[in-house]
Chain length 197, copies 2
Amino acid sequence: MAIDFWFSIGSTYSFLTVMRLRDVSSRVGIPFVWHPFNVRAIMREMGNSPFAGKPAKLDYMWRDIKRRSEGYGIKARLPAPYPIHKLELANAVAAIAAREGWCEAYTVASYKYWFQDGEEPGTEPNLSASIKEAGQLPQEIILRAVGSEGIDALAEATDAAKGLGIFGSPNFVVGGDLFWGDDRLEDAILSHRRQGL
Amino acid sequence: MAIDFWFSIGSTYSFLTVMRLRDVSSRVGIPFVWHPFNVRAIMREMGNSPFAGKPAKLDYMWRDIKRRSEGYGIKARLPAPYPIHKLELANAVAAIAAREGWCEAYTVASYKYWFQDGEEPGTEPNLSASIKEAGQLPQEIILRAVGSEGIDALAEATDAAKGLGIFGSPNFVVGGDLFWGDDRLEDAILSHRRQGL
């Protein structure tokens, strides 16, 4: 059985998972199902703003991501632009992509352009380039994403995330059990093995 | 050289570090210097309330601490009373203890009574029992802690913590580099080795 990977494009720590998940998955022999959702909607509802107005915490976040990406051997130019302006659009595209099998390719490209080239996801030139890299037609996909198809797909995914007790990103769900944070990926894999899934 | 361990009694995740640090320290052969401070004062100043009014996040925290304490083989009766009412007093005692060499014994006892017996730190019967377990006279220590000695010692430690960029608990400081969270203890140790400290 797969591990469910719930994430929002726009989350900084999700960069670490997005960039290493393919390798981890093939090394441990466990498939991951990618589920994009709107973490900002959930955080707004909760009154949860982990970094806004908290410079010491924000500084630490970049320092921590730098150390972790170096530890994983992932290239990054930090700090990346943050917070991003078009989180909804970036994830509406991903929500459509998740239904059609090109979510991983699109998301990896979005993060690569964001964290390595300094271009925000959901915004040009990142948006069209990432859609193209996933083998799709940017104009067509963007029209669907800004319309009811994208809005509804993202809202449904966000409701499902809330139903799982999700409040941040990234997350791993293993047999109903939630693991939050890139630094819990290894725990999620251990739990998957213990449960014999 | 030692690793500096900065913490506040009252922090839930610090339970994991407090209960395993002696073993870790002797296993890796690195001493840790215990520095109690007032994390609540820093959080209030930053407008940072990680769990208040965020039930999904709070539920997850207890679930996560349960899994982690089981993984470490640390006994815990969860959820423990939270938040605690007398954080300042609990840490003012610890700040005096840090100057006199009995901080670790007092803190371990405080957490044991809190997370294993459901008794809040800084409050009776936990407070006197923990001071006694550290070989001190409760009445005398409590009088000093509620007076200017305890208040000043805690304020000085809290200012020093702020100066290090600290915004939560627990923390490890290695050659000026900050690691936040029990789950970064192993990274801090690696960094200590790499820096040849």
